[in-house]
Structure formats: structure tokens, C-alpha cells
């Protein structure tokens, strides 16, 4: 799996789920309404400037706080194709993979805002402006979920978790 797109960089640590999608908007099954408010307390312009296929880049512990799956859903619905961060909060990380949003942990990245960014998942590499950084390897079970396009597809196909 390879993805290339424009990087929207917020080099901030601990971007919590309230900043990804405030709790007041989460009580809905209407995914497009989530996209409208994505990251609005961090950058009110994000939802209008992000283009389909763009990548979001952040600091460490991205997605800390609540278990709301609406956070990765809102990012995906807004057109974000992947999130690269120095590290992730664990529930957010699982939720993102489960709904088929690519998330990559690149602890040393120095990606610049607006740059073109490429992800090479098989080889665990993140590349931008001629520089390359290593990405943390994901466990096989997560790769299986991601390759199936999310946990719904995996369980629909296999009916259970394979060891």
C-alpha cells in the first residue's frame, strides 16, 4: 500500500479527540456532519482547505482522550487519506485501523507543512522533500484488518479473528 498527498502539519503533541471532533457533534450517525467540524478548535479553516487524499501530520500522542470512533471517522470523511504522527493514543490508533484509515507512527519525522508526503507501508517508510523516516511496524493482525479495508470487512469475510 502506497499513498502520496499533500501534508497538513500541526506539530503539536497531545491533540485530543475533543479537538479532532468536539463531543457536542458526535451524537450522530451522519458522517458528513462530522467532516464539517473536524479539527475546528485546532484550525477552523481545516475542513474547508483539506482536499481529498491529503495527509494529516502531527506530534506525539495524537488522538488521546475519549474512545469516540467519530474522531477517525471525521478525518476520513473529510478526505484525509492517512495520519502520520510521532506516536498515537492506543484507542485512536485501533479505531482508525478498524475503520480503514491509515495511521503511521514515524517517531523522528520532520515533515514540513504543505510538502508532498509519501507513505510506503510495506517497507515502513515515510518520505517527504527527499528525506526518509522509519515508521513503526504494525502487528500482523492490524495489517490484516487494514488490508481487508477495516474490521467490518475482515469479520464479515472470516467470521472471527485468525491467529
Amino acid at each position: 500500500m502506497n499513498i502520496t498527498g499533500k501534508a497538513h502539519v500541526y506539530l503539536v503533541d497531545n491533540i485530543d479527540t475533543d479537538r479532532i471532533i468536539p463531543g457536542k457533534y458526535t451524537k450522530t450517525l451522519d458522517i458528513s456532519s462530522l467532516a464539517e467540524h473536524v479539527l475546528e478548535d485546532l484550525d477552523p479553516d481545516f475542513s474547508t482547505t483539506v482536499r481529498n487524499g491529503d495527509l494529516l501530520v502531527a506530534g506525539s500522542n495524537f488522538g488521546c482522550g475519549s474512545s469516540r470512533e467519530q474522531a477517525p471517522i471525521a478525518l476520513k470523511a473529510a478526505g484525509v487519506s492517512a495520519v502520520v504522527a510521532k506516536s498515537f493514543a492506543r484507542i485512536f490508533f485501533r479505531n482508525a485501523i478498524n475503520i480503514g484509515l491509515l495511521v503511521i507512527e514515524a517517531p523522528e519525522h520532520q515533515i514540513q507543512n504543505g510538502a508532498s508526503l509519501s507513505i510506503d507501508l510495506e517497507n515502513g517508510l515515510v518520505e517527504s522533500d527527499g528525506q526518509t523516516w522509519a515508521a513503526t511496524k504494525m502487528p500482523q493482525v492490524m495489517m490484516d484488518i487494514l488490508n481487508a479495508g477495516g474490521l467490518v470487512n475482515l469479520l464479515k469475510k472470516d467470521g472471527g479473528y485468525n491467529k
Binding site: D13, K24, T26, C64, S67, I73, I91, L151, K156
Partner: protein
Amino acid sequence: MSQTISERIISKHANQAVSAGDIAIVDVDAVMATDATAPFAIKAFKEMGGEKVWNKEKVFLVIDHASPAPNERVANLHKLMRNFAKEQGIKLYDVGAGICHQLMVENAHVRPGDLFLGADSHTPTYGSLGSFAVGVGSTDLAGVLLTGKTWLKVPKSILINIEGEIPAGVSAKDIILFLVEKMGAEGAVYEAIELSGSAVESMTLASRMVLSNMVAEMGAKAGLVNTKGLKLDYPFEHQLVDPNANYREIFTYDISNIRPQIAQPHAPDNVLPIDKIIGKKVDAAFIGSCTNSRLEDLHIAAEILRGRKVAVRLLIAPASKAIFDTALQDGTIQTLTEAGATFITSGCGPCVGTHLGVPGDDEVVISSTNRNFQGRMGNPRAGVFLASPAVVAAAAVAGEIIDPEKL
């Protein structure tokens, strides 16, 4: 073989010995979802081709996050949950029953040694009674509804020994805020925390729940409290810390001289002792949430508010109807309402900003809850200070942050 509590519980549920770093497929004892997470879980369960949940006795739904429904959109999500519960024959706690985490413990839906998954990030609260309880999102939960299993990475564990006699005016909330400051918001990401020591052994279950609850604010996956000294009204197998287990790190803190602690906006790890924030004006106060709204919290607030009047609006949402009823019978509610407190439905609303008690621009709220991220209470231009119920009650009377002992 020495194992951490997490390794012991996960090994039992994986039917093989596992240790930190292993990926395990585990049998889940029970699950819980709320109106914030159940609708997406139900949707995902159906998309997976799910017809009947794996075990209807082991699934619990709670309407607490926006309860009672503030608008038609939420009302319809609640209706979807009620319909699903009825169709599946599963237990649903409806409007007013209480906060999910209180209800799971109060009704013994989770017990020592259990492996429990909750679609809420404060699920680690049940580590207070020695269960391996972790928060997950809606789709993970749907996977359990379908299969009764999930996959887990066995976490490394950090042992924190809390030693010493708890000083007067200091509660479990002050101790956990103190620890969140020490560990930081990323201090235990992907890891489990075990809490032990002489200060913990003397704690009630309600106080232990405060500790486990806020390990989430260190990024921890689970927060297991050594069950030594724990009293429950049913027989149980103790889940004891083994100091010879392979801990990533062991910390020991003497809390015998700590002061009440307060987290300042906008991060739960932005903590100072109260003495550094005395005199900060507040516009509103809230006693509620899965952290601090149990009977002992209401009792402490009533002790401070007895015979006094609040200077700013004080909202109180007891953790459950059972707690409200007990506090009604023992006169606590009367004391609090006479002091000017307003009671609202047991639930999460104000803490999570879904409805009720939203602060205005530039307003300052002092709250007994667990998170003060920007916008958390529904307004990104307001500031939330986190403190113990005693400090919140005293601030409500004084209109500013004050040492409750000096009120």
C-alpha cells in the same frame, strides 16, 4: 512464574501463557457501550452480518452521555439502542439510571479477574476491583458482539506504590492528579499501570475507582489496583501485585505531605498544588462524572456546604440513581439543595460537553471531572479546572479557589 496482573488475567483469557509484547486473541467476559458509542457499534455489528450477539447476558448498554435526550437527533439514537436491546434481549440502563462505569461496578457486571471491554475511554475504572478493563471504540466492540473475542497486545506494566497516610483534606482525586502530573499525558501510552501501597490498601472501592479512572489521563490502557484491603459484598479471588513481575518501571511516592491538587486548563496533567492557585475566580462549579460523584463525594460536599450558600452556580449529577436515592434518604440532598446546589440527571452531559451546564465565553468552571481539554465542556473559549469534590464545593461557596480547610 511471576506475572503482572495484566499478564495473569490475559493469559487466563487467551488459554495460554502470554507476556508483555505478545499479541493475544482473548475471550471477553462482558462488554458495555453508551449512547456515545453504541449507535456506531450496532451499525458495525449489522454491517458485519451480525444477527444475534454472542451472549446476551454479557452485553450492557447505557444511555448516559446525552441523557435525557437534548434533541430529536439524539432521541433517535436512544431509540435505536432501545430497539436493539429489546430485539437482542440485552440489558439496557435507560435515562436516569446512572453513569455507565458506576452501573457496571454497582451491579457487579464486572468482577475481579474479569477481562472487560467498554466502548468508553474511562473503562479502566474497573481496574479498581482487579479486572483487566480497557476502553475500545465502536467497531472493536462490534467485533466482540459478533465473536465474543478480541485481539490485544499484552501491555508492559508500570508499578506505582503510593505510600504514607493520606493527609486531612486530601482525597483519592488529589493523589491521582498528583500522579498524572508526575507521569504526564503520555506517561503510560500502550501500557498498564498497577497501583499499590499502604495508602491504597485503606481506600474504599469508590476511592479506588477514582485512581483507576484517571489512569486514562496518562494514556494507560488499564489501571489495576492491588485488591489487598478491598471489600466487596460478594466472594472474590484477590488480584495481588507481584513485585517480582517484570515491570517496565517501579515508582514509589510518599503522599503523606501532599496538598489538594488542581489541573489547570487545558490539560489534565497541567497540575499544581492548590496553594499556587488560591484566589482564582470561578463562574460555575460541577460535581459529577465517572470520577467523582459517588456517595462519599456527595457526603464531603455536604459537609462543606452545610449551613452555607453557594456564590456561583453549582450543578451536581450523582453517579447513579441508587446513589441519589441513598443521599436522599440520609439527608445529603437536602443539605446540598439548601446551600443552593442544582441537581441534574445522573449522567455524563456537562463533563463531555454534550448538553447541560455548558459554560459561556471566558467563563471559568471548577469541576470534579477527569478532563479539561479545550472545548471539553462544550465551549472552546471557557476554562476548566479539575479538583476534588471538597475543593469544588469550597470554591462554589467562595466564588474563587480556596483551601476548604480555610473556608
